[in-house]
Symmetry: C2
Subunit: 349 residues, 2 copies
Amino acid sequence: MFKSVTLKEVAAKAGVSYQTVSKVINNKAKVSPETEKRIWDAIAELNYTPNYSGRSLRQQRSKTIGYTWEPSPPDQANPILDAFLQNMFRAAEEKGYYLLCFPFHADDARMLKVYAQLYDTGRVDGFVISRMNYGEPTVPYLLGRRIPFVGFGRLQDDDTSFPYVDVDGGAGIAQAMEHLVALGHRKIAALAWPSDSRVGNNRLEGYYRGLSKAGILHRPSLVVRGEGTSDVGFEATNYLLGLPEEIRPTAIVCMNDMMAIGAMQAIRQAGLQVGRDIGVTGFDDTPTARYLTPPLTSISQPISEIGENLTKRLIEFLETGIFPEPRCELVAPRLEVRESTSSYLPAGK
Amino acid sequence: MFKSVTLKEVAAKAGVSYQTVSKVINNKAKVSPETEKRIWDAIAELNYTPNYSGRSLRQQRSKTIGYTWEPSPPDQANPILDAFLQNMFRAAEEKGYYLLCFPFHADDARMLKVYAQLYDTGRVDGFVISRMNYGEPTVPYLLGRRIPFVGFGRLQDDDTSFPYVDVDGGAGIAQAMEHLVALGHRKIAALAWPSDSRVGNNRLEGYYRGLSKAGILHRPSLVVRGEGTSDVGFEATNYLLGLPEEIRPTAIVCMNDMMAIGAMQAIRQAGLQVGRDIGVTGFDDTPTARYLTPPLTSISQPISEIGENLTKRLIEFLETGIFPEPRCELVAPRLEVRESTSSYLPAGK
């Protein structure tokens, strides 16, 4: 699944000897910060996987698990962070482990270096990784170095290259589609994320599945892509409301609650009533969802169970060297039906 | 400020010898879990402050800071957690430090024991403490053992017994009061927290200050206390709306956004319009606030700055032994005016 890149290719790209690359990876050489950055950049860019044989030289256990995550935008609270963290470190404490949190860096090279340092200096025994996008270099790097980790999420649908628990986002959106079809909707639009978002594509796949199951033809003009913000939801919905009557959607499925909030604002401004005239669904079941007017139908993830599950399994691996089955696990999210869809009155009735 | 309790009193309460208490505190004795729990319970209950002389025996630095926090209720996201954590561990990383997170325990004895173990085993060099309620035993315990920590919050208004940064909640509510008085309100109610909440009382004090500044007489029936949930906000507002016309409030100041959300629902159900007929303010400026109908006037805390500030100052103390001035710092929150107050039309105009 991952390209096989040699140490020499990394060395060539970074313009240094392969001995230097090897020493930097193993935390055994002091080189200038510029050189080090060039090397980590090359590793990240080439998705280099060091070919380690045997276990790391580290012997002492820190009984600590490392975790970092991407911060939410300033105008959004991360709706699942508290429950996820609390359940992770409660499960860890039961086994005498703790969670070490460290900052996220958008720069891949810097991020890989932090992972390497935390592990090589014995601060942590393994990691939980929740950033899973196409080309994410952390996963192949940790795999190659045989550094223990579990993923919250996966890199592709049929991924089995590392242990993870993931929410089946597609199954969630498919539930929303079934619900909308049962209410009588046939013209259903999707507010989707940019096509380089793995999570976004996983969710959107449930939209296509739902259309196909209901025998509805897919109309490309009903899928609008953009960042998962309320502004994008607002603009995209204005565009959808301006479509000719015969294809104008009567329901909009959004890949997160923020887009749904924007969609609801656009519908209201157009003089229509959310729920009764146009159904709207979100994803995440943020605490905001139930307090919107009308309350938003959304899809909730069993985040507490996932945090606990991931931590227990990683610790079992750290203690026994054997990863408990199943190595890869998909959990289904749950549709929470509220008035933003349930009050639908099909035109003419 | 703290009662002076002796080791013997702890021993008597726990029904053990004072040598046993001393050994348990110093992590030097193995006793039965029941005995240990009795001892930590007695320490927590009596607010016992060990009388250590000199520094701890620990020499090695872990360059790690410990932090735990109370989880939010399942239907609420902690609106400030992500920004607070991210800024803490970003500031820590700059100095080569990391954050160790550990679970919150409602049981005081268990919580104190976790603090002691984390410090005594050398896992952390110090703590950030954000749980600050009356009688909180962590603060006197850490003070007594000379374990380094900084508080996000304080135990009483004029507290100077330990270093902290706190948001002046009263100043925030006072800003809301000034804003409402300027709009013409004279009958202003407060949805307050139970009187055993330190943070709640700090905020409510701003309400009294606002009344007094505007020369408005305080009416006890206009202050309703309860947990900071939307249900309590809803019930309390129904009660306020049922008051005789001459004292029925035209504005409601809430100690958090959740209560304000409940208040808005009650006002709507009574056939009145939030903002135009009755002004409502919240506190916390949760991400939900701006997406409510109408958007909610609220009070926002400079949480990122506080996280960074606390961490930097604790690390400076850990590195130099001197706590940077000012030891105790109050920061002002900011009023965010939105339609839930700004669209007010005084009756008869």
